[in-house]
Symmetry: C2
Subunit: 343 residues, 2 copies
Amino acid sequence: MAITIKDVAKKAGVATSTVSRTIQDHSSISEKTKKKVRSVMEELGYQPNLAARGLVSKNMRTIGVILPVSDGTVFKNPFFLEMIRGISKACNENKYMVALASGTTQEELLESIQTMAKGGRADGFIVLYSKKNDEIIEYLHREKLFYAMIGKPYEYENEIVYVDNDNKLAGRDATNYLLALNHKKIAYINKHADQMMSAERLLGYKEALLLKGIEVNPKYILEEKMISTNQKEKIKELFISEQHPTAVVAGDDLIAMELVYLFKEFNLRIPEDISIISFNNSIFAKMVQPSLTSIDLHVAYLSEQVVEKLIDLIEGKQNLAIKVILPHEIIERKSCKLNQTAF
Amino acid sequence: MAITIKDVAKKAGVATSTVSRTIQDHSSISEKTKKKVRSVMEELGYQPNLAARGLVSKNMRTIGVILPVSDGTVFKNPFFLEMIRGISKACNENKYMVALASGTTQEELLESIQTMAKGGRADGFIVLYSKKNDEIIEYLHREKLFYAMIGKPYEYENEIVYVDNDNKLAGRDATNYLLALNHKKIAYINKHADQMMSAERLLGYKEALLLKGIEVNPKYILEEKMISTNQKEKIKELFISEQHPTAVVAGDDLIAMELVYLFKEFNLRIPEDISIISFNNSIFAKMVQPSLTSIDLHVAYLSEQVVEKLIDLIEGKQNLAIKVILPHEIIERKSCKLNQTAF
DNA sequence: CTGAAAGCGCTTACAG
DNA sequence: CTGAAAGCGCTTACAG
C-alpha cells in the first residue's frame, strides 16, 4: 500500500489537516511544523494521491489535448508532434498532466472527450486544429467547458481563448516576398482547404496581389482536400504551359515538398524556373533539396502560450476570451530566386 | 454540479449500490432494474466520476506513455507520432485513457513519471524507446510498476513485457535484399547508435554478409549519434573513392533521405550508382525522390499490441514477461537496382 | 436480487 | 497556529 497523508501525520505527530496544509504551503502553518512534516514526507517518500485530491478539489490538474480526427495524412504531419511536445513541456512546468483525446471518427473523439470532461478527468482542453462546422467545438462550447485553441476559431471567435499566428499576414508576407523577387505570376497551391489556417493564408495571398495592383487569377489557385491524382493533373496543366507561374506559395512544407518533386517531373528547375515559399519550417523544409524558404510559426511558443492561457482560465485568474497572436518569421533557404522572365 | 450516482439512484428509486452495480453490469442485478437505471442515466446524462472510481478501485484506467527525452532530432521523427496515435487508438478501444510523460531532461521525465505513478494517476506505462543504462527503466523496475516497451530492452529482458520487430532479422533482410541485387560492397550508415534497434540491425547486417562469405569491412560501417559535419566528411571520404560501396543500408528513412541529398552533392546517382534501403517506411520514404525501398515495421500493430499486453498485465489477466515479435515487410520503391559494376 | 454502511485519501470550513 | 470532523463520488463486503 502506498504512503498516505495519515502515515505522514502519525509519524510527524500532527493531524492530517496539518499535513495537507503544509503540502499546500499554507501560511497558517508555522515554518517549524512545515519543516518537520516535510522531512517525514521525504523520509517516507510520500506522493499525494491525485485521484483523492481531484475528488475533493474538483481540479485534476490535467489538460486534455484534442487531436484532429486521424483521416490519414493530416495527422502524419510532424507539426502535431511539435505541438504535443511543446504542450507537454509547458504542462510539466506548471505541474499539470496532459491526457490525449483522439479518435478515428468524430463520434469516437467526442465520446473520448465526454468521458474525460464529465468524468472529472480533465480540467480543460486544448484543440489543436480549427475547421468549419466542428462538432467538438460545439460540444465544448455548449457544455461551457474550459478550452483553448491553437488556431483561429470559425465560430464564437469573440468567446474563445486562442493562440495563433496572423495567418493572413503570413500569407501576405509570403506573397510579398515573391513579389519583391520580381515575380508576377504567383500560384497558390494547397490541400486541407477546410482548415482555418489555409483560408487565412489564401486571403493574405490575394490581398498582397491586389495591393500590388495585380489581378488575382483564379486559375492560379489550386486548393483541395488532398493532393489527389486529380490535383496533380491540374498542376501539370498549369505549369506545363509556356505562360506558367514563376512562383508558388505552398500551403505547408509537405505540399511544397510534393511540388518540388512534381516540378522535377515536368523538368522545371527550382529555383531557376520556379520559386517556392511555404509554411511551417518543419524538418521537411530543411531536408528537401533545394531546401525550402519557409515561414516559421514558432510552434513551441504557440504551445506554451495556449497552455498558460488555458491554465489561467481553469484557475480563474483570467476569464476573458483573450487571443494571443504570435509573429512569424521568414527563414530564407534555397527555393526562391529573382525572377528573370522577360515579359 | 455534475450528475452523480446519487441523483440517478434517487430518480430511479433504487440504492446507489444498485446504480454502481448496473454500471458494472453485475450479474446479480435483474435486467429489469438495469434497464430502468440505464434509462435514468441516459436521461440525466450521467457520466461516472473517474477520480472517485479511481480512488476506491485503485485503477484509473490510464496508461502513461513515456516519450524519450527530447534532445532535438530524435523526437522530430514522425515515427513517434505514429506510435502515439496507435496507442491512443488502442487505449480508446479498451476504454483506457492515455497520459503523456515527457521531459527535457532525465530528471524532469523521472519526476513526471513519479507523480503519475505514486499519485495513482497511471496504472501502467509504455516506454517508447530502448536505450542503454536507462534510469527510467531502472525506476519502473525497482518500483515494480506495470510497464511494457516498444523495442527490445537492454536489461531485464526476461522480465519485461515488450513488443518489437525482429530488428536483427530486418537488418539481415535489408542486407540480403541488396546482396540479391548483386551488391558486394554494402555500407551501413546510421545515427542514434545508442538505441537498441540500431544495434540489432547492425548485427543483422553483419550476419548477412558473413553468411554470404563476405568479410565485414569496418570502414563501411559509419555509425554516430548525429549526422554531424564530421560524419558527412567520413561519408564523403568513403563514397568519393573509386572503390566506393555500391549500396547502403540506412538506419532509418530520415538518414536515408539525408544520404540521398548527400550523394547528389557527390554526383552519385540513385539507384544507378548507389542503391539505398532503409527502415520505417515513413512518409519520408514515400516522398523523397527517388522514393525509398524501405522496411515497414507495422508501427500501428506494434502500438496496438503493447497496449493490449500492458492492459493484460494491469488487469492481472497475464503476468508473464511475454514478448511479441511482429514481422516486417520490404516495401520496394525506386532506390535499389541490380549492381552492374564489373567485379 | 437489493440496500445500508464503511471506506478510499484527500481538503476545507469550523472551532479553539 | 493546529485539530476534529464532514464530505467529495464512488465501490464492495455484509446482511437480508
